[in-house]
């Protein structure tokens, strides 16, 4: 009887250990932080997009503020947020494809393209609706190019 109890206790401990290992996400903070930065950028696009589409009236001050914030979020040093092993194959919560870290990855160039587009938008956003419209498209293009190559479907 004692042996059975001991066996059950060991089994339970092993099982608990296993389920803990399954749930473990060593990069929870990093993944939350980078997804947070993405959401922050989406919020700024959510200010500018309706103006571009004509759903909201153009407001130079609000557009400039959003473009400033977008550029700031795009130029943060996020290098510590992308450790190897924080990809979508390794961690359930991650949508970042392993191709980001694979040989031949051009993630750096994609990031640079985003900074360039956001820089141009920051210079243009307060200069009138046509100016904003012309600079908005390339930012959407930079978002899409990187998501196309490096984000898992969801």
């Amino acid at each position: 009887m004692k042996r059975i109890l001991l066996g059950a206790a060991v089994g339970t401990a092993l099982f608990a250990g296993m389920s803990f290992a399954d749930d473990a996400n060593p990069y929870e903070m990093q993944i939350e932080a980078r997804q947070g930065i993405m959401a922050y950028r989406a919020l700024q696009m959510g200010v500018l997009g309706p103006m571009v589409k004509g759903e909201a009236e153009y407001n130079a001050e609000a557009a400039q503020k959003a473009a400033n914030a977008l550029l700031a979020a795009s130029t943060l040093d996020a290098s510590m947020l992308w450790p190897k092993g924080s990809d979508s194959d390794a961690i359930e919560e991650s949508d970042a494809l392993p191709a980001i870290w694979a040989e031949g990855s051009d993630i750096g160039a994609k990031g640079k393209a985003m900074v360039e587009a956001a820089t141009a938008l920051q210079a243009a956003a307060g200069g009138g609706l046509d100016s904003l419209k012309a600079a908005f498209g390339p930012v959407g293009g930079a978002c899409g190019d990187c998501h196309k190559a490096y984000r898992e479907p969801r």
Binding site: M38, A42, L43, M45, G46, G49, K53, S88, D89, D95, G140, C143, G144, D145, H147, K148, A149, Y150, R151, E152, P153, R154
Partner: protein, 296 residues
Amino acid sequence: MRRILIALALLAVLGLGLFWAATRPRPIDPDLIAGLVPDVAHGEQVFWAAGCAGCHADVDAKGGEKLILRGGQRFPSPFGTFLAPNISNDQTAGIGAWSALDLANAMLRGVSPEGAHYYPVFPYGTYSRARPQDIVDLRAFLATLPSDPTPSQPHEVGFPFNIRLGLGLWKLLYLRDGWVVSGDLTAKEDQGRYLVEALGHCGECHTPRDALGGPDLTRWLAGGPVPGGTGRFPNITPGKLDWSEADIAEYLKSGFTPDYDSAGGHMALVVENTANLSDDDRAAMAAYLKKVAPQP
């Protein structure tokens, strides 16, 4: 004893004969497209609606490069990895020598000009519903595109899936005439149904597949796992996708979700195609999606 052997041999021959009869490639009746006059301008709309460039152009092609259909993109699956062939206008490397009938056989029946079955990674399960006139128009438009000499690469598919005759059985099981969504549709919803079910091939990813790789039509557009990868294709029925019709149409135009997230993965390629459709066509697709049976 000898008689039994002879009987067995006859049965084997009969079995093979029946198998061949059941699985042989079935080209269309050429009368189906005879006399149809091509409209090149409309062929371009068919080209974007059918999404040819999404798979046959380079994955990072931009602007005019989307029209260089030299193939090479890789499509992993549980059955092996398929490589998109060159369908540029090159006479030997591409399909420059094809007639409209050849294209119609490929799209409506999944049959090559040599009479072999294509793998259903080429979405003829969808295109089989396309109008013959649209295929004739598409043929004329493809003939205006650049030639590229890059040779098509062979699929990386092992036994038994490398025996193409078996695809005849797959076609018997899964090639269906008629629409998935039936009932009373407005003219707009009907237009959307044609764009989604006959050309756009949304269901090729967004409908889950069974063990043989056939679509589970009882779960039409309900999403499912990415074959040969991780993640899931999302459920785009009204049971899950609660965007307005305007939201859906905008996504197909710019790739932005209502929250200003942007399309990723192969869907970004799809948006590069649907961005070239008319607002009217995108609105029709959105209206159709609202008519699909909701799935949890």
